[in-house]
Symmetry: C2
Subunit: 118 residues, 2 copies
């Protein structure tokens, strides 16, 4: 899909909605950070919280629930005493790689620009 | 940059910061919509507001100021009576194309997935 060719109004609305969907699911302050924290493999709640500077348990819990609802994170309960709960990324989370890569590339370029201009 | 190879902690922090920078600049509810609304060429304030469903004049004004500050939007004042003010995208805004394209592609794929699962 080439976003530079001028789209019709209908195509434009479709593009906008698609981008809106993407931002709705991975936008906000924490979601990408949780996903990146889980890229190294499954982790317990406390391990995730330690990996993300400044996130509260309440916020992390709600972010994990949303990520689970959207199919990015799987909650694994190990039935033992005491019960151990772990979180890991689903295969679906890997589909975000091109988005994360383009965001990281652009962000690095933008940071360089700001540094040069200072 | 391949985001799938496991990065060192330092590289990981760099990646995270880059993605954070990108989301900081284009994240939120309206910024991308304003950028897309301006893709067709320069527009007056009221034209932009009409093109974006549900944005208030106060919010649009503050979004435009931030986009101008970050170098995405240029404010052009035509010295005539009454004064006409127009907004247009800068060349720098075009550097966002790969990000917008990957967001739109992923969002469309995600929407299809949700539709199939319903």
């Amino acid at each position: 899909m080439d976003i530079d060719t001028r789209p019709t109004t209908e195509q434009c609305t479709g593009l906008l909605n698609s981008m809106g969907d993407a931002l709705y699911v991975i936008g906000g302050k924490w979601k990408l950070r949780v996903i990146v924290a889980l890229r190294g493999g499954h982790k317990r709640f406390n391990e995730i919280q330690r990996a993300i500077d400044g996130i509260s348990a309440r916020v992390l819990s709600s972010e994990l629930k949303e990520l689970e609802l959207n199919g990015f994170v799987k909650r694994i309960v190990h039935a033992q005493t005491p019960v151990i709960v772990e979180y890991q990324l689903t295969g679906y989370a890997d589909t975000l790689s091109p988005v994360l890569t383009s965001l990281a590339d652009w962000g690095a370029m933008h940071r360089d620009k700001l540094r040069r201009e200072r």
